[in-house]
């Protein structure tokens, strides 16, 4: 992939379920090392769009390239070059910390030698040595989420997709989590993140807001506030999402 080429390039990406258009011809680009916030009300089509970008769902029409790979024909290559983490599913609760790291590292294609080096380094960096052999289910939620994020980028993917990674996390841990996101981005990993916390929208380099399957706004938080004449992202979101037909 050319260095100046966008890491995500979607053009008129569309997904229909029968007569319902869940994702309606969305076009956008995300660049290397960027933190891109993907916002929208429930039912706006975020999940459907994300599934297509992760190579899990074939679009009805339009095109998209992820890390240079085509979402129609190269879904396996896409899966190997991305990381994924969500609030709902991150790690196996009844495996230990170490087992989870090795399991997911293995799934992401790391060899044994590399896995051993990387898992030791990761456990040390997170200060989890005393917990390495404990079941993940016994860790506090904040730790789980930090571990899950680290695991999702263990194989140094081009892009990591984070689906509401901080839902339900306490305010201090939430900010520590964002410090980790910044670190990953400064190491060149592109971060694609969804959130319902509007203060977190401010932490993104650029954000898009989906309404009824379309991208209703796209830009830096500052640009969007200026465009819509609002003083906060909360106001921006409210103004755009209020008129949605598919909301709720």
């Amino acid at each position: 992939m050319n260095a100046n080429e966008p890491v995500i390039k979607a053009e008129k990406l569309t997904k229909r379920f029968g007569n319902f258009v869940a994702t309606d011809a969305i076009s956008f680009e995300v660049y290397k090392g960027e933190i891109f916030g993907f916002l929208g009300a429930n039912g706006a089509g975020k999940t459907t769009a994300m599934r297509m970008l992760c190579g899990l769902s074939i679009p009805s029409s339009g095109t998209a390239r992820i890390a240079g790979f085509d979402v129609y024909r190269q879904t396996e290559e896409i899966k190997r070059n991305i990381g994924y983490m969500s609030q709902k599913f991150s790690l196996y609760e009844d495996l230990t910390v170490l087992e989870n790291i090795r399991f997911f590292g293995g799934i992401y294609g790391l060899g044994n030698q590399q896995l051993k080096l990387k898992s030791d380094a990761l456990i040390e960096r997170l200060g989890l040595q005393p917990e390495a052999k404990k079941l993940v289910g016994q860790l506090p939620l904040g730790w789980k989420q930090k571990l899950a994020f680290s695991v999702s980028i263990l194989h140094e993917p081009t892009i990591v997709f984070l689906d509401e990674p901080t839902g339900g996390v306490d305010p201090v841990t939430r900010r520590q989590f964002w410090a980790m996101i910044y670190e990953a981005a400064s190491n060149g990993i592109t971060v694609f993140v969804t959130t319902h916390y509007m203060d977190e929208a401010e932490y993104c380099n650029r954000i898009s807001i989906m309404v009824d399957g379309r991208i209703a706004a796209l830009g830096t938080p500052g640009e969007l506030k200026t465009q819509l004449n609002e003083s906060s992202m909360d106001g921006v979101f409210y103004q755009l999402a209020r008129g949605a037909k598919n909301s709720g």
Binding site: N42, D170, T173, W178, F237
Partner: protein, 310 residues
């Protein structure tokens, strides 16, 4: 508060799991008056759901006592079950029944009819009525939430327990949900609601901030904000990560947390110097430009962080 006007009364409740290895609720006490909208505010794992299950008689406490609508949660569970409404954190309606069927089912179980208490749910039900033949399992998140609220209300409960009704819900739908709660409160229903979203705290009459099974503070949202020790400043400059770095590595370090486009800085440790001038000076010296420093009123989230870290 008169004791006969207390709808929920919790006395030193403790609940542990795994033979005492995990303490979910640790010596918690609070009261909720009739007609009050009371919020339990805290992250996942704080013990909110365990408390809700104890108050709705689905779980026995290890120690302590509690009453709901005057009934004891251990001995009078039958009376409590017929007089409270409970909306659990996880969607718990019948996915194979339609909207209409779920509602009729819950009304019948409680020996009433949808017609009898329709006035309570009308505002909410009309929003999902166009889909009344649709199976509950096929509804969107927001519609499931509205149906669950209708089902919890249809027997006209004296106390309504809502466990994280807005988790994972977008800001617009969350706002609408809180407007529905406000209208229910006006009809005299006592509401106990939990949420991990700190911004929702200000919509309650009184709140308990809870973390790791313990209550950190109980008061009105205004009272909690007023009790914040010291003064907070919202700081902004062109290079935000650098602002945080400069403040954190300063001697003495200044406690600072990102809040959207600003960083909130606690005046603690600034002595008797003027914090605005001090902060401007430090940031200017570090070569930052576009500096803004404004004294601000803390949010509930600021208060929660302060209580967590002191």
């Amino acid at each position: 508060m008169e004791s006969d006007s207390l709808m929920v009364h919790v006395n030193n409740i403790t609940k542990t799991y795994n033979k005492g290895a995990v303490t979910a609720v640790n010596d918690v006490s609070f009261s909720v008056a009739k007609g009050e909208l009371f919020g339990l505010i805290g992250p996942d794992g704080a013990g909110k759901s365990s408390l809700f299950r104890i108050l709705t008689t689905l779980l026995l406490p290890d120690s302590g006592t509690a009453t709901v609508a005057g009934y004891d949660v251990v001995t009078d569970y039958r009376q409590i079950r017929s007089s409270v409404g409970y909306m659990p954190g996880r969607f718990s309606l019948y996915p194979d029944l339609s909207i209409e069927e779920n509602l009729h089912f819950f009304a019948t179980v409680f020996n009433t009819t949808v017609k009898e208490n329709y006035h309570l749910i009308e505002d909410i039900y009309v929003q999902i009525e166009p889909f009344k033949k649709r199976r509950a399992g096929k509804l969107s998140g927001g519609m499931k939430q509205k149906l669950a609220l209708c089902c919890a209300l249809i027997h006209k409960p004296t106390v309504l327990f809502l466990d994280e009704p807005t988790t994972g819900v977008d800001p617009v739908s969350r706002k609408e949900f809180w407007e529905m709660l406000k209208r229910l409160k006006q009809q005299g229903i006592t509401i106990v609601v939990s949420t991990p979203y700190m911004d929702e705290a200000t919509l309650c009459d009184r709140i308990a901030l809870i973390q790791q099974g313990r209550i950190l503070s109980i008061d009105t949202p205004q009272g909690i904000v007023a009790a914040y020790p010291g003064q907070l400043y919202a700081v902004k400059a062109r290079d935000m990560p650098r602002v945080s770095q400069v403040l954190t590595t300063h001697t003495p370090p200044f406690t600072n947390y990102l809040f959207g486009e600003y960083i909130h800085v606690d005046s603690q440790g600034m002595g008797d110097r003027n914090p605005t001038e001090l902060l401007r000076g430090i940031l200017t010296q570090a070569g930052l430009d576009g500096i803004e420093v404004t004294p601000i009123t803390p949010t509930i989230e600021d208060c929660f962080i302060k209580l967590l870290t002191t």
